[in-house]
C-alpha cells in the first residue's frame, strides 16, 4: 500500500477535462428557457470532478489499493461470514438478460428472471424448512423489520393488539431491537445464562400476554447452539407469541438443522453472508424472509406465484402488509446467491457448514491457551475470545485488532457481543485453508507474547498501514462530511 495520501477526486480536477462519451444530440435543440420556467433552471453548477478516463482509473485504482477485501487476505470478521465471493456469480449477474431488464416490463417478457426467483425461493424453502419465502427485503435488517410487520399484522388480525413486546437476548445483533422499534414494538431484553445460552428462567418471567415475538439467532452470536431451543420455542408459543429466526448465522447449521424444524415461525437469511452475495464494502445485500403457513397471508406484495400460464406477480393479497421495497428485492444479489447454491448442491452446502464449524473449532482450540475463552464447549461457525488477560497488562482488544493489521489480516469483530468483556469474535468460514488458519493463529500467539514482553508495539499498532489510528472523537465532534473547495 502506498503511504502517501491519495488526493480527493475533486483535488484532481482540471477544468476542461472530460471522461465521458455521449452521442451527440440528434433532435433539434431548443433554448432551455423556452421549455423551462427560469425559476426551475439551475443557476450554480454542481461542483462535480473533471478527469480524463485514465486519471479516473488511476484514482480509483489507488483507492482500491488502500482497501482490504476477502481477495486481499484473511478476513475473520465474526458474524459477517466473510467467505470467498465466487467469480461465476459476478459473470452471471451481468448477463444482459438479468442486468438489463426493467422491473415494469410485461411479465411475459421476463419469465426467465421470474423463474430464477421462483426456483431460488423453492431452494430457500427447503434449506430453511419454512413454507414460503419472499425475496423482497434488501438486507438482513430489512428482513427483520418485514417479518416483524407480518407478525404484527397476524396478531392484529386475531384481535391481539395488546402484543406490543418483542423479546431480544442481550447477545443479539443491534438490528434486532432497532427493527422492533421501527415495526412499532417495545423491546424486552433477555439475559444470557452462565453457559452462554438464553437464560430460560429470565425468559419465563418476561413472556406473557403482551409478547408478540422472540427474536433469536441460533447459533447465537457467541457461536453457541441454543440446546434448549425446543423448550424456548414452546415457551413463546404457549403464550401465543411467534418465534423469529435471525439467519445471520445460518452458515453454521446448513443440512444439520432447519429453523422450520426447531419451531421457528419466520426467518430471514443474509444472502450476502451464507450465500456469497459479496459484501460490496457495506452492501448491497439481500435478506429474504421465510414463513410458516399461518403467516403467508401477510407476506409483502407482490407475491411471486406459478400458474399454468407461467410466473406471475400477485398483488391481490388483502391481508398483505403491503410493499416493503420498490419492485422485487435486490434481484442482482439474488442471482448471485442462486448461482452459488446451484454451484454447491446439497452435498456442497452440507460440506460448507461442516468445514466452517471445523475451522472455527480448530482455531478456538489453538488459541485457547493464550486468550481467555469464556465459553468452553464446542462452538459452531464462530467463537468469542476475551482479551481480559491482556487488558490486565494494559493492552486492549482494540490494540490487538490494530496489531493484526500489521500482519495483513482484517481483525475479528471486537467488543461484540456486548456480554463478553473485551470481546474478539472470530469467524474463519469454510473457504480458508488450514495454512491460512495456522498463520493467523501464529500471529495471534505472537501478539499474545508481545503483550507480555513488548506491549508498546501492540498499543501503538498499526505500524505498516497507509495511515495509523484516526481521531474518531474529532470526526464526531466537528463533523466534516463532504469536501468543500478551499
Amino acid at each position: 500500500m502506498h503511504k502517501d495520501n491519495q488526493p480527493l477526486v475533486f483535488e484532481l480536477t482540471k477544468e476542461g477535462r472530460t471522461g465521458y462519451s455521449l452521442t451527440p444530440l440528434d433532435v433539434p435543440e431548443v433554448a432551455l428557457t423556452d421549455i423551462l420556467p427560469t425559476a426551475f433552471i439551475r443557476q450554480e453548477e454542481a461542483e462535480l470532478p473533471e478527469l480524463s478516463e485514465l486519471d479516473l482509473m488511476r484514482h480509483y485504482t489507488a483507492l482500491s489499493n488502500r482497501n482490504h477485501g476477502v481477495d486481499s487476505g484473511f478476513y475473520p470478521l465474526g458474524s459477517c461470514t466473510m467467505k470467498y465471493n465466487p467469480k461465476i456469480n459476478e459473470s452471471v449477474a451481468r448477463f444482459p438478460g438479468f442486468a438489463h431488464i426493467h422491473p415494469l416490463q410485461d411479465e411475459s417478457t421476463v419469465q426467465g428472471a421470474m423463474e430464477l426467483m421462483y426456483d431460488l425461493q423453492e431452494h430457500l424453502v427447503e434449506i430453511t424448512g419454512m413454507d414460503e419465502v419472499t425475496l423482497q427485503p434488501a438486507a438482513g435488517a430489512h428482513g427483520e423489520w418485514t417479518a416483524l410487520m407480518m407478525i404484527r399484522a397476524f396478531h392484529e388480525a386475531n384481535g391481539d393488539v395488546q402484543r406490543t413486546k418483542v423479546l431480544v437476548p442481550d447477545s443479539a445483533h443491534g438490528t434486532n431491537p432497532a427493527s422492533a422499534t421501527v415495526a412499532g414494538f417495545d423491546t424486552v431484553t433477555i439475559k444470557t445464562a452462565e453457559n452462554g445460552l438464553v437464560d430460560l428462567a429470565d425468559l419465563r418471567t418476561k413472556v406473557g400476554e403482551d409478547t408478540a415475538a422472540l427474536m433469536l439467532t441460533n447459533p447465537n452470536t457467541l457461536g453457541l447452539f441454543e440446546e434448549d431451543i425446543l423448550e424456548i420455542t414452546d415457551i413463546i408459543h404457549s403464550v401465543g407469541g411467534k418465534v423469529y429466526y435471525d439467519g445471520a448465522n445460518l452458515n453454521a447449521v446448513m443440512s444439520k438443522v432447519r429453523p422450520g424444524d426447531m419451531g421457528f415461525d419466520c426467518v430471514h437469511l443474509n444472502l450476502h453472508k451464507t450465500f456469497t452475495g459479496p459484501h460490496g464494502g457495506g452492501g448491497p445485500g439481500s435478506g429474504p424472509v421465510g414463513v410458516k403457513a399461518d403467516l403467508i397471508p401477510y407476506l409483502p406484495k407482490p407475491v411471486l406465484v406459478k400458474t399454468a400460464e407461467g410466473f406471475h406477480f400477485d398483488y391481490n393479497r388483502p391481508q398483505s402488509i403491503g410493499r416493503v421495497k420498490p419492485y422485487y428485492g435486490n434481484f442482482g444479489i439474488n442471482v448471485r446467491a442462486y448461482t452459488y447454491i446451484r454451484t454447491m448442491g446439497p452435498d456442497g452446502l452440507k460440506a460448507v457448514t461442516e468445514f466452517a464449524v471445523l475451522n472455527a473449532n480448530y482455531m478456538m482450540r489453538r488459541l485457547e491457551p493464550y486468550f481467555e475463552l469464556p465459553y468452553k464447549q464446542h462452538c459452531k461457525h464462530e467463537f468469542v475470545l476475551s482479551g481480559s488477560r491482556q487488558k490486565k497488562l494494559g493492552v486492549r482488544t482494540l490494540d490487538i485488532a490494530k496489531r493484526l493489521l500489521d500482519f495483513g489480516y482484517h481483525p475479528p469483530t471486537t467488543y461484540f457481543p456486548l456480554n463478553v468483556e473485551e470481546a474478539l469474535m472470530i469467524e474463519p468460514t469454510e473457504t480458508e485453508s488450514k495454512e491460512t488458519l495456522d498463520e493467523f493463529c501464529d500471529a495471534m500467539i505472537q501478539i499474545a507474547g508481545e503483550v507480555e514482553t513488548n506491549p508498546e508495539i501492540v498499543q501503538e499498532a498499526p505500524h505498516t498501514t497507509v495511515i495509523n489510528r484516526l481521531d474518531e472523537t474529532r470526526a464526531a465532534r466537528t463533523p466534516i462530511l463532504r469536501y468543500t473547495k478551499a
Binding site: N5, Q6, Y20, T23, L25, D26, V27, A39, F40, I41, R42, A46, E47, L48, L56, S64, R66, N67, G69, D71, S72, N85, V92, F95, G97, H100, I101, P103, Q105, V110, E126, A141, H142, H173, P177, A178, A180, V182, A183, L224, K256, H279, G281, G282, I321, G322, R323, Y327, G332, T339, R365, K380, S433, K434, P462, R469, D471, A475, I480, L481
Partner: protein, 455 residues
C-alpha cells in the same frame, strides 16, 4: 467432498480433529437435539460444473427481453442510461466488492474516501448540506425521511402528493403503519401537486409534505412554494428527486427542502429488474444527527495525516439498539461507488449535457406525438416522461410494439383509474430520434388497426 471453494484435504481434517480432540466432524454438532436434527440431504438441485451452470443460466437469461436487444421506452423511476464502461471496471476490483463495511479505517481508506466523495457529489447535486453513504433504494429512503420527520416534529401526519411514484408511496405507507403515522394523499391537478388542495390539508399536525421532482408523470413541481407552505406550520419539506435532473434543475436545497432523497440508479447502475439500486439521503446540518445509516467523515491520524472514518455512529443500531434512528445496517455501498464513478466520468459538464439531452429528447417526443395527433395529457415542463393518450388499451398496444422490437411505455391504468389508455412514455439520451419516430409510427399503425377492429 471435493469442491473448488473448499480447500480442506482429508489429511487437514484429520490433523485438525486431533487438535480439537474429537474423532469426527459430527461430534461438533452433538449439541443439536436429536429430535430436530436434519437427516440426509436437502432436496434441492444437484451441483453443476462451472461450464454447465453458465450454459444453463445464460439460456435462462435469454428468456428475458433485455434493452440491448429491444428499444425501451419504460422509465417510471428506473432508467436505461449511458453507463460509462469504467464503472464496471472499478466496481469489479475485488478490493472493493469483497470488503465489508469499513469498520477498520486503517485498511479501508479506499472505500471510506470513495464514499466521502460520493456524499459530496450527492450534496452538490441536491444542494443540501450533507448526504449519507446510501440507503437501499429511493422508496425506502423516502420512507425513512418520513420517519425522521415524524420523530423530529413529534407529529404523526404526513402528506404525500399523488404525483409521487405510487410504488414509493406504497412503501412509505407500509413503514408509516409500523410507526402509527398517518399518510394522507394530496390530489394533483394538471399532473402536478394541487397546491390549493395541499394548503387545505396542511395543519399544525403535519410532520412533512412529500413531493417528487420531477414527479412520477415527468412534470416539474414548484418545490419552493411547497416548502414555504409546510414551513409555515413548522413541518418538513421532503423531496424525492432524480439526481440526474438536478444537473440542470434548481436543486431542492435551494428551494427550502429539509430532506432530499431519491435513487442514484441513473448514474451507472443497471436496471437489474429493479435492484440493487442505490437510495440516497441528503439533508441539512440541523438534522445531521438524526440521519439514518452510515456516514463517512474526515479526520486526522496521530501524525496529522488526513483520513476518513465512519462517524456519528451514536445514531446507529449497533450502538443505540432500540433507540437508534433507523434499523438500517447493510446499505448499497458498492452501488454508491458505481454512481460516484459515473458522476466522475461524466463530470461537471457531462451531467449537464446528459440531463439536457434528456429534456430535449423528451420535448421532441412530446411534440412529435402531438404532431401525430395524440394528446399529451399534461402540458407542464417535462423530464424523461410524458403521458400520452394512446386511445387504446396500453397493454395491448405494448404487446404489438414488442413484436416490433420495442418495449412500450408504462400502462398507467394500473396506477391511476383516470388514466386508462394512457402510456407513461420515457425517453432518455439513449433513445435516438429515429427510435422515437419509429415508436410513433408503429403506435399509429397499431392504433389504426385496433381502432378499425373495434369500430
Amino acid at each position: 467432498m471435493k469442491h473448488r471453494y473448499l480447500p480442506m484435504t482429508e489429511q487437514d481434517q484429520k490433523d485438525m480433529l486431533d487438535v480439537i480432540g474429537v474423532s469426527s466432524i459430527d461430534d461438533l454438532f452433538a449439541d443439536i437435539p436429536e429430535k430436530v436434527r436434519f437427516k440426509g440431504e436437502y432436496q434441492i438441485k444437484a451441483a453443476k460444473s462451472e461450464s454447465a451452470l453458465l450454459k444453463e443460466l445464460s439460456t435462462l437469461a435469454k428468456k428475458n427481453a433485455n434493452h440491448d436487444e429491444y428499444t425501451s421506452f419504460l422509465g417510471a423511476g428506473v432508467y436505461d442510461h449511458y453507463k460509462p464502461i469504467v464503472v464496471d471496471h472499478v466496481i469489479s476490483r475485488s478490493e472493493f466488492y469483497t470488503a465489508y463495511t469499513p469498520y477498520q479505517p486503517e485498511i479501508s481508506q479506499g472505500e471510506l474516501q470513495a464514499i466521502f466523495e460520493y456524499q459530496t457529489m450527492i450534496a452538490e447535486l441536491t444542494g443540501m448540506d450533507l448526504a449519507n453513504s446510501s440507503m437501499y433504494d429511493g422508496g425506502t429512503a423516502l420512507a425513512e425521511a418520513g420517519m425522521l420527520a415524524a420523530g423530529h416534529t413529534r407529529r404523526k401526519k404526513i402528506l404525500v402528493s399523488e404525483a409521487v411514484h405510487p410504488i414509493s408511496k406504497d412503501v412509505v405507507t407500509t413503514y408509516a403503519y409500523g410507526q402509527s403515522i398517518e399518510v394522507i394523499s394530496v390530489p394533483m391537478k394538471d399532473g402536478v401537486t394541487d397546491l390549493e388542495a395541499l394548503q387545505a390539508l396542511i395543519d399544525e399536525d403535519t410532520a412533512a409534505v412529500m413531493v417528487q421532482y420531477p414527479n412520477f408523470y415527468g412534470q416539474i413541481e414548484d418545490v419552493a412554494k411547497i416548502s414555504d407552505m409546510v414551513h409555515a406550520v413548522k413541518g418538513l419539506s421532503i423531496v424525492s428527486s432524480n439526481p440526474l435532473a438536478l444537473a440542470i434543475l434548481t436543486p431542492p436545497g435551494k428551494q427550502g427542502a429539509d430532506i432530499t432523497v431519491g435513487d442514484a440508479q441513473p448514474f451507472g447502475i443497471s436496471e437489474a429488474f429493479g435492484g440493487p439500486h442505490c437510495g440516497y439521503f441528503a439533508t441539512t446540518t440541523k438534522l445531521m444527527r438524526k440521519i439514518p445509516g452510515r456516514i463517512v467523515g474526515e479526520t486526522v491520524d496521530q501524525e496529522g495525516r488526513r483520513g476518513y472514518v465512519l462517524t456519528l455512529q451514536a445514531r446507529e443500531q449497533h450502538i443505540r439498539r432500540e433507540k437508534a434512528t433507523s434499523n438500517i445496517c447493510s446499505n448499497q455501498a458498492l452501488n454508491a461507488l458505481a454512481a460516484s464513478v459515473a458522476m466522475t466520468a461524466l463530470g461537471k459538464k457531462g451531467v449537464q449535457e446528459m440531463a439536457t439531452q434528456n429534456i430535449m429528447k423528451t420535448h421532441y417526443a412530446k411534440q412529435a406525438f402531438e404532431k401525430a395527433g395524440y394528446t399529451v395529457t399534461y402540458q407542464g415542463s417535462h423530464f424523461n416522461e410524458i403521458v400520452v393518450d394512446t386511445t387504446i388499451d396500453v397493454t395491448l398496444l405494448n404487446k404489438e410494439l414488442f413484436k416490433q422490437g420495442m418495449i412500450g411505455g408504462l400502462d398507467l391504468a394500473a396506477y391511476n383509474a383516470d388514466l386508462a389508455n394512457h402510456s407513461l412514455i420515457c425517453v432518455t439520451e439513449q433513445r435516438s430520434k429515429e427510435e422515437i419516430d419509429a415508436l410513433i409510427t408503429a403506435t399509429s399503425a397499431i392504433v389504426e388497426e385496433m381502432g378499425a377492429h373495434h369500430a
